[in-house]
């Protein structure tokens, strides 16, 4: 009787008892079919091991992984901060063109103490009232123009 695949694999890995190991060895020596099956199983097993090793190499964290992650976080932070200051600058410029350089003193707060989103929330209704909805929408679009959407998201602008 020919041994099944599981028995052949156990034989290959020397998992059987000494008596069973000897019996299978004698059978394979005289059976071309089981000898070929054992050879095929050995090749497939080696292939699986090679794939597994490659996958592990791919997924393994690099030695400088943490540094790279921290660096990316810092870069995103810098980009968000830069967008925030650019946004403030644009809002200040636009509002001063239409209302004058001391508008922030009248409104209270201002670019030094407020976030870009808060400034825009103050500026937009004023612009809408005094230059009309259409023109105000164009000014707000101009303020947002060129801003990186990801950085804007980080800055809470969009």
């Amino acid at each position: 009787m020919h041994p099944d695949t599981a028995t052949l694999l156990a034989y290959r890995d020397r998992q059987l008892s000494a008596v069973a190991q000897r019996e299978i060895q004698l059978h394979i020596a005289g059976c071309a079919r089981c000898s070929a099956a054992l050879e095929r199983l050995s090749k497939e097993w080696e292939h699986i091991l090679a794939e597994d090793a490659a996958f592990r190499r791919l997924c393994a964290p690099p030695r400088d992984g943490l540094d790279r992650v921290l660096s990316a976080i810092r870069e995103r932070g810098r980009a968000a901060s830069s967008t925030e200051s650019e946004l403030k600058q644009k809002i200040v410029e636009q509002l001063e063109v239409y209302f004058g350089s001391r508008i922030w003193a009248v409104l209270g707060g201002g670019p030094a103490s407020e976030q870009g989103t808060d400034l825009l929330a103050k500026a937009e209704p004023l612009l809408t009232t005094f230059i009309g909805r259409r023109a105000a929408a164009a000014v707000v679009a101009e303020i947002h123009k060129g801003a990186d959407p990801r950085a804007c998201l980080d800055a809470g602008v969009m």
């Binding site: 509002l95 001063e96 063109v97 239409y98 209302f99 004058g100 350089s101 001391r102 508008i103 003193a105 009248v106 409104l107 209704p125 004023l126 612009l127 809408t128 009232t129 005094f130 230059i131 009309g132 909805r133 259409r134 023109a135 105000a136 164009a138 000014v139 101009e142």
Partner: protein, 311 residues
Amino acid sequence: MGNAFLYRAARPAPALLIGLTFAVLVLGVFPAVEWVTTGNEGTLRLFFDYIGALWLIALSLAELGFCLLARAQFSPGEPLRRVWSLASLGAAAHAVGSILSQALGIPGGLNPFAGNAGWPAAAAREWGLTIGGPLQMIFLASALAFALKTYRRSGLLPRIRPADWALLAVVAGFSVLQIYEVVLYWGPNKTGNFHEAITVITDPLLCLLLAEAILIRRSVLNMGWGLIGLCWSAFTAAIFLTSVGNIGLWLTTNFALPRALEASTWYVWFLVYAAYALAPAYQVEACRRAVRPLVLPLKPALWGRLWRPAA
């Protein structure tokens, strides 16, 4: 073509208005100097009857055009839409009044009916002064009242300072004096025509406009000089200059002023008209800066037809 042309035409408008008014004033200095030094008023009369009258009419038409353009930048329901509608009515009254009083109401000059003996030039002038005076002021005072309301709602109307209160008190005192004089003039047995009746409200109206102008001036001074501030400051300047012009007229009527001083009071009206035209021009410039091309009060196709030379 219509949109693009108007966009380009509106762009340098404030500078053009100031520059051309300055040029007309410089041109007007020479006949005035001649009149002061020699007493010859021929050139002076020519200047005021033709160049001066033409420029005042042109400025009032420019004011009307810019007011309509400014109105078109706001959708129905927006607070400044109503302000610019009233300002447009005021500008229309100003333009009609200017044409009647500066051209059709004078016996010569630009009046095409000057040779017609039956032409009622005096009546045209009276109507011109009524339409371009009290009627225009009523519309403007209403427009400024709504503008002040918008300023207050937006938090831009500051607390009135003692200096402003003092100025307002002077204006109120002057107003009371004017009303007293009107009551004395308009005694129980006095009968007058429609124009006399309506012109008695001119001074109280001017006082109301001055009070509104003081409040707007304070707001603009607090904010600095943006395009919107320039717009309302121009209205304020026009109102203050109208008062100066009226004081000049009163002085000329009641006192024998030196010729140089008398002549200088006539030229104030060029500044008044220029300031009235500048106000909407700055509003249009503010909207133009944000949106190009401008929203036009009429369909673009019609503008195209108006501006395109006939094929």
